[in-house]
């Protein structure tokens, strides 16, 4: 192998790639736009924070009781989570108006408190009517969850009060001589009726994905993955046809470097372009969009990340080489890569999380080797996997990268031979 020739290909391809405006768009502008748009549109700055619900309340309750409508509204006004109000309460005169505001989207939810609520809640069961804005299925669930959660909390407090009142009454007036149940036992029993199950809910979110910076980190890697796919496919599929169009292929095929040097040189040139663009995208993701990515040169596992990246680049270029069979012109190659890239955006689990995909599509995302490599990077820099956890994916990715590239190289050799015989 003539390494001087390999270097010549690398230098030329990297130079011309960064001088070509269309290519620059894909390798630099596109991931940057993608990351910034995602950071501000998809994961708005409020994401991950406590939501404040706008709730309209129609209070028809005139009960004179320790607990009543007014008391409930006060509770709503004073409920804070992490220093933030959970509700922004707006008093509304009648239920017709309340519905009107919900339909207009001015309120997230509404509560109608009927007359007698206070008396009923204090001495029996108080009825409430809750209205939830349901134009968006996912926010509907969130709003509903918040309100029912709040009302359950209130119910529990009411139960506690009622238990204490009942116990006080029992200990004062019930004869204890023949009782088989102790007072303590009765107390426990009543508490059990009020709180049959005390589930302690604990949120289990990897520290790293719970926050906006981590989500942006996840998407920054997604953008890099997509850029690799779009550009790598193009680099591979246009590798020969582009030289043909430039008129350089004849010269190269007449040279002593027409064999492995051409393939290796151009592939390495492509990899360098991809890696440089990935670094630019990471820089923008971390520096501008505020992505949080864990990577430390002192952690040995983190050094698998560049290898995963290399595997991803080789896979995308290798798949492009296979596509070159169907690319007669560089324009054709570009359209084909863009079309496939677009398809993969939705199906590969690189940009849209796998969990969003319907079951049958997930089969593809889970078995698409390129996704393995990107997942591997995410597992390390987002989820902070250790070596034993990452090893299977690592081996799979490396083997797949080699296999795909060998397939691409075979197609490449067939194409070159076909050119000489044509």
């Amino acid at each position: 192998m003539n390494w001087r020739a390999v270097k010549a290909f690398i230098v030329r391809d990297v130079k011309t790639m960064f001088r070509d405006k269309a290519a620059l768009f894909w390798v630099v502008a596109w991931p940057i736009i993608w990351i910034l748009m995602t950071a501000y549109v998809f994961v708005p700055p409020g994401a991950g924070h406590v939501i404040t619900l706008s709730v309209g309340v129609v209070n028809n309750d005139h009960s004179v009781a320790p607990f009543n409508g007014t008391y409930l509204v006060d509770l709503m006004n004073n409920t804070m989570i992490n220093g933030k109000h959970l509700f922004n309460v707006e008093m509304i005169n009648d239920s017709v108006r309340l519905k009107e505001l919900l339909l207009k989207g001015r309120l997230d939810a509404g509560i109608i408190i009927p007359d007698g609520f206070g008396v009923n809640a204090t001495y029996g069961t108080g009825r409430l009517i809750v209205l939830i804005r349901a134009d968006n299925p996912s926010t509907k669930q969130i709003y509903e969850g918040i309100i029912t959660g709040f009302l359950q909390g209130v119910s529990r407090r009411l139960s506690s009060v009622k238990i204490n009142v009942s116990l006080a009454y029992i200990s004062k007036y019930m004869p204890t001589a023949n009782a088989t149940m102790s007072l303590d036992r009765i107390k426990q029993y009543l508490i059990g009726i009020a709180f049959p199950i005390n589930a302690s809910v604990e949120e289990v979110v990897p520290e790293s994905v719970g926050s906006r910076p981590a989500i942006i980190g996840w998407y920054t890697l997604g953008a890099i993955g997509m850029m690799f796919l779009y550009t790598g496919l193009l680099i591979g599929s246009a590798m020969i046809v582009r030289e043909k169009e430039l008129g350089t292929l004849k010269r190269l095929l007449a040279s002593p470097s027409s064999g492995p040097e051409l393939l290796i040189g151009k592939t390495l040139g492509g990899i360098i372009v991809l890696v440089v663009s990935a670094l630019i995208a990471l820089f923008v993701g971390i520096g501008v969009a505020g992505a949080r990515i864990y990577w430390s040169p002192l952690n040995p596992v983190d050094w698998l990340v560049p290898v995963f990246m290399l595997a991803a680049a080789i896979m995308s270029i290798g798949m492009g080489l296979v596509l070159s069979l169907a690319s007669r012109t560089s324009k054709g190659a570009s359209s084909l890569s863009t079309a496939l890239g677009l398809l993969f955006t939705f199906t590969a689990g690189i940009w849209f999380p796998k969990e969003w995909l319907p079951g049958w599509m997930r089969i593809f995302a889970e078995n698409f080797p390129f996704t393995w490599a990107i997942d591997g990077i995410r597992d390390i820099v987002v989820y902070q996997y250790g070596l034993p956890d990452i090893l299977p994916l690592f081996v799979k990715s490396v083997v797949a990268a080699i296999a795909i590239f060998v397939a691409g190289a075979t197609i490449y050799r067939i194409q070159i031979r076909r050119y000489a015989e044509k």
Partner: protein, 312 residues
């Protein structure tokens, strides 16, 4: 005798077109070998087989004692394809350094060699500019430099002077003569008979995928050319047409129109024919602007053998 290229019974077909139809040739080491032929004759096809870019359907090629497909042989061949093969977004220097790398030439050697060649072809001042800003002639010359960057033994040039101004063409010719003087073998495809005539030690005249004759230009001219050629330029085109039909019809001479008012007449004995032409012109009322007797050239050889003109 040592041969730089030996090709035997080469056949190459594109779809249904027989681009090369049983072509054989031997190029002696150290000579300039012209491939002369009109458009579509098969020159580029033959060259692409010699340099190993394409494989013949039939036949054998030996270049510098080996196969043109082997990297070792290729490293000793310099090839200037008809279509430049330069990257538009790179400068002249960058393009040349690229090809230097491809041929394994060190940057230092490449720099010296580029300076020398660029100087000879007068393109030194343009090497810093991107090739997309180059004129056709500049590209052509840069492309020739790229073919010579690794100091090859066999240099294959496919129409190196097509589209060049006469002055620049002369500098390319000078370079080819320098190469020959330093012992290199040059294969030169051209459709300019003057170029083939002036530079070649040996010429193969190609037409329709075949080599119709080969030999030294002098040999070809004396063997296939007429003893003499009379060129007549008349004042008007209609006059030229009248004279042509008279000479061809009544005297049975081979007459060719090489310009709107120009006739080229092959003859055996100009001393007898010149007075006849002048008197005929006088009788027919045609006025002659120029009349001269010339030696035959390769164009006449081609005409004689194919009945067609070389340069369209």
């Amino acid at each position: 005798m040592d041969y730089a290229v030996i090709a035997e019974d080469i056949v190459k077909t594109y779809n249904s077109v027989r681009a090369l139809d049983d072509v054989s040739l031997r190029v002696p080491v150290g000579c300039v070998y012209g491939l002369l032929g009109p458009n579509g004759a098969g020159k580029s096809t033959l060259i692409s087989i010699i340099v190993g870019v394409s494989k013949p359907d039939k036949g054998k090629v030996m270049v510098l004692g080996g196969s043109p497909l082997s990297p070792g042989i290729r490293a000793r061949i310099g090839f200037q394809p008809q279509e430049h093969g330069l990257h538009p977004n790179l400068t002249g220097w960058e393009n040349l350094f690229f090809y230097a790398g491809i041929y394994g030439v060190s940057p230092r050697d490449a720099r010296d060699r580029i300076r020398e060649l660029a100087e000879k072809l007068g393109i030194t001042g343009y090497l810093d500019k991107p090739v997309r800003t180059y004129s056709g002639g500049l590209r052509q010359r840069l492309s020739i430099v790229a073919a010579l960057i690794h100091d090859p033994e066999l240099i294959v040039l496919d129409e190196p002077t097509t589209g060049l101004d006469p002055g620049i063409r002369k500098s390319v010719w000078g370079l080819i003569m320098d190469l020959r003087r330093s012992g290199k073998t040059v294969i030169l495809a051209t459709h300019y008979m003057e170029e083939a005539d002036k530079l070649s030690d040996e010429v193969a005249i190609m037409d329709k995928g075949r080599i119709i004759v080969s030999g030294s230009p002098e040999e070809l001219k004396s063997r296939y050319g007429p003893p003499a050629v009379i060129e007549v330029v008349l004042r008007e085109q209609s006059m030229a047409e009248k004279l042509e039909s008279y000479l061809a019809g009544n005297l049975g001479l081979q007459v060719n129109k090489t310009g709107a008012e120009t006739l080229r007449i092959h003859c055996r004995d100009p001393d007898q024919l010149v007075p006849e032409i002048t008197s005929t012109a006088y009788e027919l009322g045609l006025s002659i602007s120029v009349l001269r007797v010339l030696k035959p050239d390769l164009e006449d050889v081609f005409l004689k053998l194919t009945g067609r003109r070389l340069e369209g």
